[in-house]
Point group: D2
Chain length 283, copies 4
């Protein structure tokens, strides 16, 4: 594995294998979007093996089944009980996780209407493939919008918000930006809200009680509080009739593989934080 | 000057002086906010000397006079004719310039209502003073919101928008972010708008005809197109009923000293671009 | 502690205390250079309490004693047996660690003579204090030499090299650079050497056998292999009669607090890697 | 040209052409290394057209001729008179320029013997092609050595040093590093030298008298003094018998296209600084 993950030099003798082994408890699918479905069509996976898919193939309700397998949307802060009894997990997208964690308590309180969100993501959000916008000479010291109002995570976000605030007419305008850093997502969502912070903070804190990775902060948050961890941090600010919710996660951990491990822990009745107690890169 | 501006090593023998010289045509005030007013109260400046103030002391209409001096808000794309015949200029703020350039054509067309803006700025926006958030170890690879919904430029932005769309009820929610780069401002403003891009682009292009530094792009813009220049670039995107306007400037040039020189050129009937034809740091 | 270490938000309820507690096993001194000696002169520490000093107060042989306490230079790859039976540890400097790990096997083989070393360090090497060279606007995208040929770690490096190659005339010219990143040290040392890589690699590998954090690589190493870990990686290259040894560490871990914990583990007979199995920030 | 050089948006209507036009005064060849020779073999260029080649095809004496064309090594600080009367110029390499400018005055004084040089270069030094080490996720916050002791510029450096210190036995050990920034080269060369700084500084200053871009600094230099300019800055430091020469250039300007324009100015009897008075990116 060292040839691929050179940061593991001296740490492991594990080897990658091209063969499927039936003697496993759980299968993580880390394929490109659309490839998980193909993989499951082409490979027979024993029924007792649990699957955690990191692609977006099974996240939406209407696409969540293949054969006898039914996938549960694996955002523990939304679906923790369903996850504990699930067989298959559709692991959420990175921006989807950051945005939802900032909005779910408001949805549960029926407070969402029009939401305006801007988010910034590191270069690892675009994967390892080489492209103009992943070239260091281009990306260093640069900022650019992309997929304005059309990001592919809007679907899964919408389903989750409607799950908590059914029948409502929530309109989420999302502008994603490419940032000049490697890791992390920082999101600010603005909306009309008449409640005061003194009411809103308890609403958020209550919602996240019992969820070990999501923390509500009354101090200004910043991205590096969460980079290299599975944590999400959330901060609220108000002026006049407008509420702004800031949220931050590490796109590779809480936004991808860390949340996948969190889901595995829940699937198997392990401590939810097992293997995920990590120190943030404050510096 | 080399001791202060070490990048000018080998370029200049100019020396700073602590004394005021009356034999000048123009006086640039580059003091902290609130200091320009004090300076003009404490120092007698000959009436024939034109003043360009880079602080925010005289930007708002109700604060634009001191003694016999009346200051004109120096955004050439808004006030070019007034600037040409002015004696004193209040040079706009950096975020104010970037946001206004994205919204002025819409204001002139009467299209503004609720606007949701997020902007990101480099570390030079905070000046040379040392602070926790200007320490390299903190700021590198980091993002943080600050002055959420309360940024001090909202006043001057509001006056300009109302100048073009009088009597309207424009509500601008602005979330500024600290970016992990040194120079430049990138802004995305989202609002409801029923016009199509095919109508909006000509509206913007017509508005900026004759303004040599502000360019409307139909390709995706990015921050480094403008860093080290006095340019502004603007891009429009639409989905459904929502319009997003992206705009970018260099906070130190179009957002400060470059625009001050542009204003000087206009004050003295020089070519507007004199001294300001600069190559962007694409890399 | 969260007010100081904001990256620990949600992780700990520990509180800092201004009082000394005698009911401890080990005391880490993380004071400025010169302050540890003063602290021990002014405070009575019970004899049974072990001390690990992270400053440079007791690193040199002639300065390694205070009262009845004798400090051992805490580079495990050099002094592991002495450390195991020590009462007090002088934890090595960050550049000193990186440079020594690249040179110790050569010293033991009697191969050192004139050595030419260049090293680059992140901004955390300069601590949290604010200074011109720690300002983000200055340090971003910048490189500068400092303390050329006079770095304060040359003394401790010299003592260690002479410990393994006694009586020799080793002349180490060291040029340190400030890098535009926050964490890590990368060092290249060049010297005359007639041995081939096929002999040198085993010499290094044998020297570091049994030392769990120091790894000799036959592939090109890079800084991010070690950032966020207590590891050191070392690579050798040769052309003609010249040998170049590259070495890299995280200045905050193997170069400071990580090595201090490693020393504590050795002092108390714990597993040497306890608490130090950390994942590198490859991204 | 905007489609390729997006930083020129709004600046130019120039178009690239795939055709050779004989009605030109000078031809800049900006092809890959080895491609210039092929191009001149395959294309007939009128004898009166001057050629400036930015590749390494004609830099070495034994490779400096093709047909009737003889190329002069275009380092103005070394060959200014030859360049003024030349027809064809081989523009120096970027590292070669930075290293030579730090060593030429010493070579002229016959002081060079063994030299140990480390240099760091930005990502633009590797061109626009995509590769693992040019991916932002890899290069951000990273450092790596490459082409240790074998960099392709050693040949041209060696010829220049011998031109000024003929018959000597100069041994240059050069360790290049990849830096985590886009532009610029910083080099430190260490060697034995018995002269004092009080003698060495005048030696350098005299050597560079009349050369408008190369400046000798008695203050600490840093990379951003030269980025975005055609300047070179040089600083000397001594301790004991060792001299360290620091030098810095922008690899894209003094290290490539800027020096090519400087050479064009000399070829055509223009002011040497024409088109090259540029402001450094201090921030």
């Amino acid at each position: 594995m060292y040839a691929v993950h050179q940061d593991l030099f001296g740490e492991t003798d594990l080897k990658f294998s091209g063969e499927l082994n039936d003697n496993i408890d759980v299968l993580f699918l880390c394929l490109g979007h659309g490839e998980s479905k193909k993989f499951l069509e082409q490979n027979k996976i024993a029924d007792n093996i649990k699957i955690i898919d990191l692609a977006n193939d099974f996240r939406l309700t209407l696409q969540s089944e293949i054969g006898k397998r039914k996938f549960i949307y694996g955002l523990p802060e939304l679906n923790v009980e369903k996850i504990k009894s699930a067989q298959n997990i559709a692991n959420p997208g990175c921006f989807a996780t950051a945005i939802q964690l900032g909005l779910l308590p408001l949805a549960k309180a029926g407070l969402l209407n029009d939401v305006y969100t801007t988010g910034i993501t590191g270069s690892t959000g675009a994967g390892q493939s080489l492209s103009t916008s992943s070239h260091f000479s281009w990306r260093a010291n640069n900022i650019q919008a992309y997929k304005t109002l059309t990001h592919q995570h809007l679907g899964e976000i919408g389903e989750s918000l409607l799950q908590l605030q059914p029948g409502s007419d929530i309109d989420l305008s999302f502008v994603p930006w490419r940032g000049d850093f490697t890791r992390g997502i920082f999101v600010s969502s603005t909306l009309r809200c008449d409640m005061e912070l003194s009411e809103l903070y308890p609403l958020f804190e209550n919602f996240y009680t019992g969820h070990p990775f999501t923390h509500v902060s009354r101090d200004p948050i910043f991205l590096k509080q969460v980079v290299n961890t599975n944590k999400a941090v959330i901060q609220l600010e108000k002026a006049g009739s407008k509420l702004v919710v800031h949220s931050a996660i590490d796109n590779l951990l809480k936004g991808a593989s860390g949340q996948a491990v969190q889901n595995m822990n829940l699937l198997f009745g392990l401590e939810e934080t097992a293997g995920l107690i990590l120190k943030a890169n404050y510096f």
